[in-house]
C-alpha cells in the first residue's frame, strides 16, 4: 500500500511538475510535530513562519509542504526523505525535538539539503556534529542556560538544587548551567532527573528539594510538565523559603496563563520575551496578536526568524539548495528578539539572552526583564565546517 502510494505520488509529481518548472518559487518543507505532546510548539512555529511571509507579501513565492514528525526520530527521518526525494524541497525548516534532529543530521548533510533548525537545542548539532547545511536560528541548550549562572551569583544565590526531566535535553540544560555555575564558585548541593513524560506528581521531588535547603532551585521543564511543575511548586508553598529559577521555557508565555499565580516571582533566562521594548518586537507582537489573539511565545519568534533568515538568503541571490546553504550563515538582521547573526564557526545563532521575572500586571501575568546578556555565542565545541 505504502509502495503503491509512493509510486502514485512520484508519478503525480513527475507529471504535474513539468508545467511548473518555469516558476521561480522556493519549495519549503516544514517538518514539525503536529500531533502529540509538542503539537502546540509545532503550530506556534508554523504560525510565526507564515506571519513573516505574509508581512513581507511573499506568501506566493514559497510553496510549503508540511509534514508531521510525531516527535519520533524514525518518523522524522522518513518524512525528511519524503520531503527531499519526493517533494524535492529546496530547504527544510522546523525540528522541535533534538532526538529528531540527531536522526536527520547525516541525511541532510549527505543529501546537501539546507536545514533551518527552528527549535531543537542539542549542543552537538552546532558542536561536534555540525554541518554546513544545518543552520540554527533558535538557540542551543548551553546558550540559554549559561547566562543564568553569573546573575544568580550576583544576587547571592550560592547553592542550588537542580531538577529536570530525564532525557537528552534535560541533562544538557542542567549540565550547561552546572558547568557555568560551578566555574564561578556556585555549589550544586543536589539534584534529580525525573522520568520524562511519566512524572505527573512532582510532590516527592519538591519535598526532597526543599529539605536539602538550597538558596534556590534551578529547573528545566517545558510543555505540560512545566505547568504541572510550577503549579505544584506553588501549592507546596516552597516559594517563601526557596525561590525558583530555570530555563525560560519554564514560564513561557505559551503556558504561563495555565500556571497562574504560582509562576509569579519565578526568574528564568530565555532568548525571547514578548515584553521586549524595541520597535521590531512591538510590531511583531502587534501583528501576531492580531492573528492569534494572544502574545507570541519564543517558539513563534523562532518560526518567524526562520522565515526572515530564509527570505534574507533568497534576497541575497540564493535560489537552490547549495546557494541557500551558503547564503544563510551570512544573513544578519535585527528581529523581535534583538540583533541576530549566524556564527560562521558553528552555524548557531548569536543572540541576546534575557533574564526575566514573571510578574502580575492587573489580572494578567507578564514578563519583566531583569538582566540581559548581549550577543551570547557558543564556543565551537569540536565543530569544524
Amino acid at each position: 500500500m505504502r509502495k503503491l502510494l509512493s509510486t502514485l505520488a512520484v508519478a503525480a509529481v513527475a507529471t504535474a511538475g513539468i508545467p511548473h518548472m518555469a516558476q521561480a518559487e522556493t519549495k519549503v518543507g516544514l517538518l514539525l510535530p503536529k500531533s502529540g505532546t509538542y503539537a502546540a510548539l509545532g503550530n506556534e512555529i508554523e504560525a510565526g513562519f507564515n506571519l513573516a511571509l505574509k508581512e513581507a507579501g511573499k506568501t506566493g513565492d514559497f510553496k510549503i509542504v508540511v509534514e508531521d514528525t510525531e516527535i519520533k526520530p524514525p518518523v522524522g527521518l522518513a518524512k525528511a526523505r519524503k520531503l527531499v526525494l519526493e517533494d524535492e524541497v529546496d530547504v527544510i525548516v522546523g525540528i522541535v525535538s533534538s532526538g529528531v534532529l540527531g536522526a536527520l543530521r547525516d541525511f541532510v548533510h549527505e543529501a546537501k539539503v539546507p536545514l533551518i533548525v527552528a527549535n531543537a537545542g542539542n549542543n552537538a548539532a552546532t558542536g561536534k556534529s555540525c554541518s554546513p547545511y544545518i543552520v540554527r536560528v533558535s538557540f542551543s541548550n548551553g546558550q540559554v542556560n549559561r547566562p543564568m549562572a553569573p546573575w544568580l551569583m550576583e544576587k547571592g544565590i550560592k547553592t542550588i538544587y537542580t531538577l529536570a526531566p530525564d532525557y537528552a535535553a534535560g541533562h544538557q540544560m542542567i549540565e550547561s548551567f552546572t558547568e557555568a555555575y560551578t566555574a564561578i564558585g556556585g555549589k550544586i548541593i543536589g539534584g534529580e532527573f525525573t522520568p520524562f513524560r511519566k512524572t505527573k506528581d512532582f510532590g516527592p521531588y519538591l519535598t526532597k528539594a526543599k529539605s536539602a535547603n538550597p538558596d534556590g532551585i534551578f529547573v528545566f521543564y517545558a510543555g505540560g510538565e512545566a505547568i504541572s511543575f510550577v503549579k505544584q511548586y506553588g501549592s507546596f508553598g516552597i516559594a517563601k523559603d526557596v525561590p525558583l529559577f530555570g530555563s525560560g521555557f519554564l514560564t513561557s508565555p505559551l503556558y504561563v496563563k495555565a500556571e497562574g499565580d504560582a509562576a509569579v516571582g519565578v526568574v528564568a533566562s530565555l532568548h525571547y520575551v514578548p515584553t521586549l521594548d524595541t520597535p521590531e518586537n512591538k510590531a511583531f507582537v502587534a501583528a501576531f496578536e492580531g492573528e492569534q489573539k494572544r502574545p507570541p511565545s519564543e517558539y513563534a519568534v523562532q518560526g518567524y526568524d526562520a522565515a526572515k533568515m530564509l527570505m534574507g538568503a533568497i534576497a541575497a541571490g540564493a535560489k537552490d539548495r547549495e546557494s541557500i546553504a551558503k547564503a544563510l550563515p551570512k544573513v544578519k538582521y535585527v528581529g523581535p528578539r534583538g540583533p541576530m547573526e549566524i556564527d560562521p564557526a558553528t552555524n548557531n545563532v548569536v543572540q541576546n539572552i534575557y533574564i526575566y521575572e514573571t510578574v502580575k500586571q492587573g489580572e494578567a501575568l507578564t514578563q519583566k526583564i531583569v538582566g540581559t546578556a548581549t550577543a551570547v555565542r557558543d564556543a565551537p565545541n569540536g565543530c569544524s565546517m
Binding site: A39, T194, R197, P204, Y205, T207, G224, I227, S228, Y255
Partner: protein, 288 residues
C-alpha cells in the same frame, strides 16, 4: 530527613493512590462485570478535565466544574455505550481493544479541535488554595481534598457494594453473569448502570486532577498505563483489589522516586511482571 519529611512523602503517595483508585475502580468493575476492555477510560479522564475547565470558565466556579464534569463524562459514556460498547459486548477482547484503542485517538483529536493543543489550567477554589497545617506538617490543602474525595468515594463504594441490594446484584453479576440473569436480575441494566458510574468516576478523577496537573491532551494516555497496572496487580473486578493496587502502585511510584530515582520509571513495571508471574489472577481477584 526528619519525620515531617516522611509524613509529607506519605501524603504525596496517598494522594497519588487516591487518583489512581478513582480511575481504576471504574475500569476494573467494568472489566469484571462486562468482560469488556475499555482502553478509552483514560480518554474519559481527559474529557473530565477539559469539561471541568470549560464549566469553571462559564460558571466562574470550581464547584460547577466539580459537579458538571462527571455528569458530562457520564453522558458521553452513555452515548458510547449505546453506539459501540453494547454491540461489542460479545465481539471478543481483540475487537474491543482495537475499537477502544481507536477511541483514544478519536477523543484526543476531538479535544485538540475543541480546546486546542495548549495545556489549560484550572484554578482550585479559594478555600482549598494554599497550604494547611495538620499535626505540625504544612501540606497543600487541595491535596488533602483529593485524599478526602478518594476516601469518601472508597467508603461509598464499599457500602454500596457490600451493604445494598444493588451491590449484591453487581457482585452476583461479576461472579457469574448467566446465573445472575437466570435468577431474574436485569443484567443489561446493571451493566449500563455500572458503566455509567465508572465513567462518572473517571470524569471526577479528571476534574480533581486538573488543578494539580492541568488539562493536557496527553493526560489520558499517560494515566492509562499506571491504571492498567493497578487493575492487573489488584485483580480484576474487585473493589478491594483496586484499593490494594492503587495504594501499592501509588506508594511504589512515589517512594521509588525518593529512594531510587534511577529506577522510579520502571519500578511499577517490575512489580507488574512479578505479579503476573507469581499470582497472575492479581492480589485480590473478584473470582476465586
Amino acid at each position: 530527613m526528619d519525620t515531617g519529611y516522611w509524613a509529607l512523602q506519605f501524603l504525596n503517595a496517598l494522594q497519588f493512590s487516591m487518583l489512581l483508585f478513582l480511575l481504576s475502580i471504574g475500569l476494573t468493575v467494568i472489566f469484571g462485570l462486562l468482560h469488556f476492555v475499555n482502553l478509552a477510560h483514560g480518554a474519559l479522564y481527559m474529557l473530565g478535565a477539559y469539561i471541568g475547565v470549560s464549566a469553571a470558565a462559564s460558571f466562574g466556579s470550581y464547584w460547577a466544574a466539580f459537579f458538571l464534569a462527571p455528569v458530562g463524562v457520564t453522558i458521553i459514556g452513555a452515548i458510547l455505550y449505546f453506539t459501540l460498547i453494547e454491540r461489542l459486548r460479545h465481539a471478543g477482547p481483540m475487537n474491543q481493544v482495537l475499537v477502544t484503542f481507536g477511541l483514544i485517538f478519536v477523543f484526543l483529536d476531538l479535544v485538540r479541535m475543541t480546546w486546542g493543543d495548549i495545556a489549560l489550567g484550572l484554578e482550585a477554589p479559594a478555600a482549598l488554595a494554599g497550604s494547611s497545617e495538620f499535626a505540625g506538617i504544612s501540606y497543600p490543602t487541595y491535596r488533602f481534598f483529593i485524599i478526602a474525595v478518594g476516601a469518601v468515594v472508597m467508603a461509598a463504594l464499599w457500602v454500596g457494594l457490600t451493604r445494598t441490594q444493588i451491590g449484591a446484584m453487581i457482585r452476583a453479576g461479576v461472579e457469574n453473569g448467566n446465573m445472575a440473569a437466570a435468577l431474574g436480575i436485569n443484567v443489561n441494566r446493571l451493566f449500563f448502570l455500572v458503566f455509567c458510574v465508572g465513567c462518572a468516576l473517571a470524569g471526577l478523577a479528571g476534574v480533581i486532577a486538573a488543578p494539580v496537573f492541568s488539562a493536557t491532551t496527553g493526560m489520558g494516555i499517560s494515566i492509562l498505563i499506571p491504571t492498567l497496572i493497578v487493575v492487573v496487580i489488584g485483580g480484576l473486578g474487585s473493589l478491594e483489589g483496586a484499593i490494594a493496587g492503587s495504594l501499592i502502585v501509588g506508594f511504589i511510584e512515589t517512594l521509588g522516586a525518593v529512594f531510587l530515582p534511577e529506577v522510579a520509571a520502571i519500578s511499577s513495571y517490575v512489580l507488574l511482571a512479578a505479579v503476573l508471574i507469581l499470582r497472575p489472577q492479581g492480589l485480590i481477584p473478584a473470582r476465586g
